[in-house]
């Protein structure tokens, strides 16, 4: 029997066009054996939530470098909750000031990564977040 394969969404909400970080992470996750649904640039929170729902992902990774994380993340979290996707962990990378991290964690963001994070650490954080969400498949 094939074991259940982990699927993650890598999305780039907001208006900046810098997707190199998202691509590096997507590639690293692929090489670690994840199926990565990559949505590309300029996603609205609605698009991210809907893609996560249709694809039934085990985790969502967001890349935000525009500084709009304090607007985008709460919106996404609210949508996920409304859709019944509270068991899908959200991880965030990009340019995130340290003082925002506690508030983001408070909103339910599982991990926040800044520039210079090793991809190995990111992969580990995805695995941990998925394990502790324990969606049972």
């Amino acid at each position: 029997m094939p074991k259940s394969q982990q699927r993650v969404l890598i999305a780039k909400p907001g208006l900046d066009g810098h997707d190199r970080g998202a691509k590096v992470i997507a590639r690293a996750l692929r090489d670690a054996g994840f199926e990565v649904i990559y949505t590309g640039l300029r996603q609205t929170p609605e698009m991210v939530a809907e893609a996560a729902l249709q694809e039934d992902v085990d985790a969502i990774g967001l890349s935000i470098l525009s500084g709009a994380h304090m607007a985008l993340v709460p919106k996404l979290m609210a949508l996920l909750e409304a859709q019944g996707q509270t068991d899908v962990p959200v991880l965030l990378g990009g340019i995130i000031p340290d003082q925002d991290v506690p508030a983001l964690n408070e909103m339910g963001v599982a991990s926040v990564f800044g520039p210079g994070t090793e991809t190995g650490a990111v992969i580990k954080a995805f695995r941990t977040a998925i394990e502790s969400a324990d969606r049972g498949h």
Partner: protein, 335 residues
């Protein structure tokens, strides 16, 4: 309510989670498939295949947009998209990027998009693509677009999965001999030259037209000479229309939608739809039978015997075929 009832009731989260169960080949997924199967058979299944980079995803995006905007005559239809991308043979991971080209479809609750990794299957689809399509069919999606991995010449499994197969080509990918090789072009019910604004487009169209004329001497030749690319549905024979599109600009999409409808009408009028359905069931059961037999056989015979046989092949004592035959006969030690 269980997942199956919720999905049948239009709950998209339940549908998505059911699809995962089926993709993972879990016992719960198999049971759900059994419950859902009586509800299948209503959707028209449209395959979109062709080489990588020919613009399949962009075309699927435009097709779905167009199909959702048409009114009357059974439209607008609910559209599901199943897009398959390859898994890495090394890590088993995959990057599923078809949604990048489908952002126009976000926000329409009449569209459901699911990306699938091929998970080692080589026919252009994943092992469970057929089953996933059945779930979407049962849950009321009228038209299901199935996008294959970027296909080379022999990824033709889509033809035994879809009712209507669209083969997408784009300029600059090969000469006329490519166009008459066996394989992918033979399975086309509709041929599309995408990126028709590129300088080499007339050459690609010409090569495909010549290939079509060889295969379908009358219909294709006559129809295409007067610049008409409309499909002709005579009850006896279908000649694949050759259409040009520029998917990035949404050009040529309406004739393509009409061609899909035309092919569907032809399948029904000619009775070929039943033959195709029979073929589809046969192909699916063949697959399942082979998979199941292999699993059962190996678990009954034991992994040890198999390993021993592998060692003997490595030692060049047996050919792989001899090794398999000796295992089946139950005499792995020798002839």
């Amino acid at each position: 309510m269980g997942l199956v009832d919720r999905a049948l009731d239009g709950d998209r989260l339940a549908l998505a989670r059911l699809v995962s169960e089926i993709e993972d080949e879990s016992p719960a997924g198999d049971a759900a498939l059994g419950e859902l199967f009586p509800h299948t058979g209503r959707a028209h299944l449209v395959g979109v295949t062709g080489g990588s980079g020919t613009g399949k995803s962009t075309l699927v995006n435009q097709l779905a947009l167009k199909i959702r905007s048409v009114q009357g005559n059974g439209y607008p239809k609910k559209v599901a998209i199943v897009a398959v991308d390859p898994s890495s043979p090394f890590s088993g991971g995959a990057i599923l990027g078809d949604r990048i080209r489908m952002r126009d479809l976000a926000g329409d609750s009449g569209i459901f998009i699911r990306s699938m990794a091929s998970r080692g299957a080589l026919g252009g689809l994943a092992r469970r693509t057929r089953s996933v399509v059945q779930v979407l069919d049962a849950c009321g999606y009228d038209l299901i677009l199935i996008e294959t991995v970027g296909a080379g010449q022999s990824e033709v499994e889509i033809a035994s999965t879809a009712h209507t197969t669209i083969v997408v080509d784009s300029p600059g990918l090969g000469d006329e001999v490519q166009a008459i090789k066996a394989g992918i072009l033979e399975i086309a019910d509709i041929l599309v030259v995408n990126k028709a604004d590129l300088p080499d487009a007339p050459k690609a169209v010409m090569a495909l037209r010549m290939a079509l004329e060889l295969g379908y001497p009358k219909g294709a030749a006559n129809r295409l000479q007067d610049g008409q690319a409309e499909p002709v549905a005579t009850p006896s024979i279908w000649t694949p229309p050759l259409l040009e599109t520029i998917a990035t600009r949404g050009e040529g999409i309406e004739p393509l939608v009409r061609a899909i409808d035309g092919h569907r009408d032809y399948l029904i009028a000619s009775g070929e739809i039943e033959a195709r359905q029979r073929g589809r069931v046969r192909a699916e059961m063949d697959h399942l039978l082979r998979d199941q037999l292999a699993v059962d056989f190996l678990s009954a015979r034991g992994e040890d015997a198999y390993q021993k046989a592998i060692e003997r092949v490595l030692a060049r004592e047996l050919s792989p075929r001899q090794a398999v035959q000796s295992i089946i006969r139950g005499a792995p030690e020798g002839r």
